[in-house]
């Protein structure tokens, strides 16, 4: 945990390593999830000299581990057919760790990013924050009980399946978003016995149990969860809990940047996805952290039309 100063690479060094543009970018997009892909798809080459960076080793954000899936047709099409527009540099396994907005002495925004080779800086006239977020774990909601193995969010379960491992034998998926239910189906297909549960929400999607998660039981491995169903405590014996209640906007790296957040922790934007800082936009989950990513594709499309130099 002790932080050690890492070697700082200049853009010139990076040019030798990657096929990148010299000098400043017109647009830097933080994140290569759905909203970013939608922006690139709509904006294309008209965005100008663009760099896209993402923590993951592939594009598509957290949903990449689920897609293709029923009910995610639009998202899957976008991902499946995605082509990197000409003039756009894509830096994968590259994580933004800081943002220094433009000021009098420096008219472009600076992104501090980390990757294998070290820390580097990227300068851009416009920055689109499309970094999404992370899934809300049980700890965030302070669900009482033990801390056994077998409690996870969908993205962990889906990654483990993709790596060829079963995360458990009998799972309760807690949440009734289309993402939660698609995760439940995927687990069932892999051979797990799956029970779906959620608090009564009235969104029309059906789960097997209606109830509020009250307690996590068992140690060292999960043995059961308790739900409050109709004022009755019901114990469900499972060895796996998929906690699928939502996302948290990924804004921790913006601390000290001056980018304003809402009380809910999302980035505050106006109707045109502009943050409080000129030339810095935010779209997707980091603005609206619904687990279903319903708005991401639309937001990307809309911001493409709004960016100076963008297409309408």
């Amino acid at each position: 945990m002790r932080k050690v100063q890492m070697s700082v690479y200049t853009l010139e060094d990076m040019l030798l390593m990657e096929n990148m543009h010299e000098g400043d970018y017109d647009v830097a997009i933080v994140g290569a999830g759905l909203s970013a892909l939608s922006l690139l798809h709509s904006g294309g080459a008209a965005l100008g000299r663009t760099v896209v960076l993402d923590y993951q080793e592939q594009v598509g954000g957290l949903l990449r581990y689920l897609l293709p899936a029923d009910g995610f047709g639009t998202e899957w099409e976008l991902l499946r057919d995605f082509q990197l527009p000409p003039g756009v540099s894509l830096l994968l396994q590259t994580t933004a760790v800081g943002l220094l907005p433009a000021h009098d002495a420096e008219p472009t925004h600076t992104l501090v990013v980390r990757r294998r080779q070290g820390t580097m800086q990227l300068r851009a006239r416009q920055v689109v924050i499309a970094c999404g977020g992370v899934e809300r774990p049980r700890e965030h909601d302070a669900i009482p009980g033990t801390r056994p193995a077998g409690v996870m969010t969908p993205v962990l379960a889906l990654q483990l399946l993709a790596q060829g491992y079963l995360p458990g034998r009998r799972a309760l998926v807690y949440g009734d978003s289309r993402y939660a239910l698609a995760t439940a189906r995927r687990l069932a297909e892999a051979g797990l016995e799956v029970i779906t549960a959620a608090p009564t929400s009235g969104n029309g999607r059906s789960v097997r149990l209606c109830g509020t998660l009250e307690e996590i039981c068992g140690f060292p491995r999960l043995t059961a969860v308790r739900l409050l169903c109709d004022q009755q405590s019901v114990e469900v014996e499972v060895d796996t809990l998929i906690y699928a209640t939502g996302l948290l906007a990924g804004t921790h790296w913006l601390k000290g940047s001056g980018v304003a957040l809402t009380a809910a922790g999302t980035i505050a934007v106006d109707a045109h996805y502009r943050t409080n800082i000129a030339g810095i936009y935010a779209i997707g989950t980091v603005v609206r952290p619904g687990l279903d990513h319903e708005d991401s594709v639309r937001m990307g499309k809309e911001v493409a039309a709004l960016l100076p130099g963008g297409v309408s």
Partner: protein, 486 residues
Amino acid sequence: MEMTSIDLDVDILVIGGGVVGCAILRELARYDASIALLEQYPDVCEGTSKANSAIVHTGFDARPGTLEARLLAEARQLWPEVIARLHIPYLQTGALMVALNEQEQATIAREIVPKAAANGITLQPLSRAEILEAAPYVNERIVGGVLVEGEGVIDPFWTTRAYCEHALLNGAQLFLGERVNAIEVGRRRLRVRTENGKTFSAALVVNAAGLWADEVARLAGDHSFKLTPRKGEFLITEEDHGVAQIILPVPSEVSKGILVTPIVFGGVLLGPTAEDVSDKRDLATTTAGQQRIREGVGRLVPAMTTASTVRQFAGLRAVSSTGDYIIRPSTVSERLLHVAGIRSTGLSASPAIGHYVGTLVAETLGLRLRTSYREALPEPLSEATHEDGEVVCLCRSITRGEILAALRSTLPPQTLDGLKRRTGAMLGECQGNLCLPRLIALFQQELGRDPLSLEKHAPGSRLLVERLRHLGSVPAHSGERPKRGQ
């Protein structure tokens, strides 16, 4: 004694790899003797040592005349050198004890200040205005308080590992995942068996088994003391609201109360509760406990009532039937030495407990100091982190280089929680749900660990149950696949 093959013959065997056991191991490593430590969990620092306030406490409120008070006082002198030699991250924050009414203010003057004086510590009285100026986040309704200057915060995991690594550097042996289930007391030697079927023989055994020390004693036929678990629940917030000091309430008859404590690496720890429980494995957090914490800290730092939490946990302290530390030979043999009932001050007193027990053992066995002894741990390697700057833990910006350095260290993690504590990975908002598969892959790559065998923390906490039988069936949808290289 029956004839069984001995897997390891040593002069001294320490049972228990908590902060106390490891501090003792480190002190014993000074002597010309063969030493080993057995720990039931796959890592050190898994019991009481792992879930506490992480405070290096001065002992200002210890009961004067007790062994606990004496060792806390000695530890105050030893800490600076321990921290420097073992390179342990430490913050001397000081502690503010705040009185919420005149009655509490009177308790401070009448009981707290004289008791501290008896323990050799001068408390600095502060007015309401002085406290609010130094700590504007404190409840405005306070009437006054005192500053305990010497209190600080440390990382208990780092401390325990550092003790252990220092001992290993000086020739000690460590056996993880070895739970003791039988002790045979002979006239000259003791035999200790573990659940894995290993047999150890030693001239002297130190029982530093924490909460289980009474059960270890019973294995040897010693029923002289009993330990009961007292649960303390905590919660962690990353909203620090400027908290830079430890904020203490005026203690009541039963408890030191619920505190607000800065964490050495950032964030704030709230708690603990104090609840006597019967099950030594009951580490569950409860709605009632979390509520009590919120109420308690709300009186000290109102903003903490609603601060968002990233994690909650519970620890169990070992409360002894005697009311003081139990550091003495067993009733069945001089060669079995109990170090038990260390309650909640084990971390704070650990350098002195180590020194006290080390001296005691050396006298008992007539040991001499080793001629070659390395006084300090090497400086933590910084080059390792240069190797690969790719961020693996997104929430905490922990790089692959940092993970690799931990996996290649003297005391590498055996579990995912072990890796978490060594690097800080998985401690952020998502609690590891995003990066855990990457960490599993690094465990496999570096230590050759089969992912199926990898555990979260305790034995039996495997994360994966089996390999998928039909790899091709996931994902099994439209048959379309994303294009490569995008």
